[in-house]
């Protein structure tokens, strides 16, 4: 396993990051702007800044096929940035919310995107040809609190959402005229807009930080603030699920999780490193960390001169500065994303966090 690729971009938190499909462009949400980095050799160089939001940008997503970038911000707006020969052209989306927008993701077919918000609703946005703008429809019931995260089902109709009311929900975002009637799944058969296909409460009432459907869409995983991840296997529409497996860990809470095939989940958060979970419908367990602890450069300890040692003791009262964490990320990881996939399996994934680093990991 080769060493992960580390890019320390700046000393600010990265709220969210997204790679273009060719992995040559990296979009970063940094404070109120969106920064676009281009790959130059082994490094990423700043090549463009998208300014359009006047409060913190909370989330960003690049559609892999169309290359459109969608961003959302605490200024209650979402912008779709259309790539043109003259650069990116922003279009304002009519979200109709009066609290911050917290999270945005394109649907897999790229005709819609979902914006979570503090207004206790999810705006499902789609393009209306006749008016030539992006409009939204609201998923409102039964959300009781801020939406922190959303995740799309592969069929682009079902949407999972995590909220600060300790519930992960599966809802239908079917929009007439935009979506074709989806194949029936274990989650539901008839799926008019705002159908609730599943509602799962976290045991300790922790906020839900991340939700993700498995590659097949037949299982849902979510991470909550009680340091747990939960995997739900639905049985049939309107029936209680086949299995709800909750793993409470000894670790700090996870902020983000991704599936690697159907039998592995990678999750990362406040422990500043990624962990693997392995299992299936019969049970899941924590199987270890992604980061190899014995990589070169970490254990190398320079021989200190006696003079230097006493100098350090005099200056700081200790010989060694151990403010460095043993992990690559030096602060909370907030986003994980698949970087390179083969079929359903993830071969590389990227992480970003509060320390301003982007790390590309080999699975």
């Amino acid at each position: 396993m080769s060493a992960p690729e580390v890019h320390h971009l700046f000393h600010n938190p990265i709220a969210d990051h997204s790679f273009s499909a060719d992995r040559q462009t990296l979009a970063i949400a940094r404070d109120t702007t969106v920064e676009l980095y281009g790959r130059v050799g082994n490094a990423f160089k700043l090549k463009d800044e998208l300014k359009g939001h006047d409060k913190t940008v909370t989330s960003i997503d690049i559609a892999p096929n169309s290359g459109r970038i969608v961003t959302c911000s605490q200024d209650r707006n979402a912008l779709v940035w259309e790539p043109t020969p003259q650069g990116y052209k922003p279009t304002l989306v009519l979200l109709r919310i009066n609290r911050a927008a917290t999270f945005v993701r394109w649907s897999p077919n790229e005709t819609k995107f979902a914006v979570g918000s503090g207004d206790r609703l999810i705006a499902i946005c789609y393009f209306e040809e006749e008016n030539d703008w992006w409009v939204s429809k609201h998923l409102k019931k039964p959300i009781r609190s801020t939406i922190t995260t959303v995740g799309w089902h592969p069929n682009s109709v079902l949407l999972a959402a995590g909220s600060t009311d300790a519930h992960a929900r599966v809802l239908s975002s079917f929009i007439k005229g935009v979506d074709a009637r989806p194949e029936p799944t274990a989650w539901g058969e008839r799926l008019p807009f705002n159908t609730i296909c599943g509602e799962y409460l976290n045991n300790s009432a922790g906020w839900i930080h991340s939700v993700a459907f498995s590659p097949s869409g037949d299982a849902l995983a979510f991470a909550a603030h009680d340091s747990s991840i939960t995997v739900v296997y639905p049985s049939a529409p309107e029936q209680p699920p086949k299995a709800v497996i909750s793993i409470n860990t000894q670790l700090l809470p996870f902020m983000s999780l991704i599936w690697n095939g159907e039998a592995e989940i990678i999750a990362a958060g406040y422990d500043c490193e990624a962990f693997r979970f392995k299992g299936g419908i019969n049970g899941w367990q924590l199987s270890g960390t992604v980061e190899a602890k014995s990589r070169p450069g970490l254990s190398e300890e320079r021989e200190e001169s006696a003079l230097n040692m006493f100098k350090q003791m005099d200056l700081k009262g200790k010989v060694k500065d151990n403010t460095q964490l043993k992990t690559i990320h030096q602060n909370t990881i907030t986003t994980l994303r698949p970087y390179e996939t083969s079929g359903d399996a993830v071969t590389k994934f990227s992480s970003s966090g509060v320390d301003g680093r982007i790390v590309i990991w080999n699975v």
Partner: protein, 200 residues
């Protein structure tokens, strides 16, 4: 009629500024039903709690400290009057005090690895924090139930032991348990206790 005449004394005061308008807004977070954050819990009455604590004491007398602790933690009082909650806390602290320091870690490990062990240790952690938060209640129960296990009783026999001393000893027991529970169940356990709406 001029507008000025219509102003009453009420309008001239700023009482209207003190109306908590958030309470009137059904969508406000003030009106968030926290009962939606946990499944309904069975209500436990005083007699239930008394039966439980005598069962626990029986186990303790039989030398089955682990069983006693398990019984306590499997039946937490989430829903009940404050008195009953305090009473159960007293039972838990009594069990904790009867277990020797050298037995703590192996016992906790066995509980953690057993069925539903994570949940049980989370529950224990809730009682540890509750005990620390209300030293009077915890040690009060202790004083009645365990007549001085510390060995200081003879020394202090002459003078009246101040409640501060016994509070301190109860607290040190709770603190050493806290340390051991974190060793076994990790920091995640503390996080779960903090987020949980099921309060003991």
């Amino acid at each position: 009629m001029s507008i000025i005449q219509q102003i009453t004394a009420d309008d001239l005061t700023d009482n209207w500024r003190r109306i908590n308008i958030d309470a009137l807004d059904p969508d406000s977070s003030l009106n968030f039903p926290t009962s939606s954050l946990h499944p309904p819990q069975p209500e436990i009455s005083e007699s239930d709690c008394r039966n439980l604590s005598s069962a626990v004491r029986q186990l303790l007398r039989g030398g089955d400290a682990e069983g006693a602790l398990r019984t306590c933690l499997e039946n937490p009082v989430y829903n009940g009057p404050d008195g009953v909650k305090e009473q159960h806390l007293g039972t838990v602290v009594e069990v904790l005090q009867s277990i020797k320091a050298s037995e703590m870690s192996p016992l906790l490990k066995r509980v953690y690895e057993g069925e539903g062990g994570v949940e049980l240790l989370d529950c224990l952690m809730k009682y540890l924090y509750k005990g620390m938060g209300s030293p009077g209640a915890g040690s009060g129960g202790v004083k009645v139930m365990t007549p001085q296990t510390t060995g200081f009783s003879q020394i202090g026999g002459g003078r009246n032991i101040s409640s501060g001393d016994s509070t301190g000893s109860a607290m040190s027991v709770l603190l050493s348990w806290h340390e051991k529970v974190v060793e076994v169940a990790g920091l995640g356990c503390i996080g779960r206790v903090m987020t949980d709406f099921r309060r003991v």
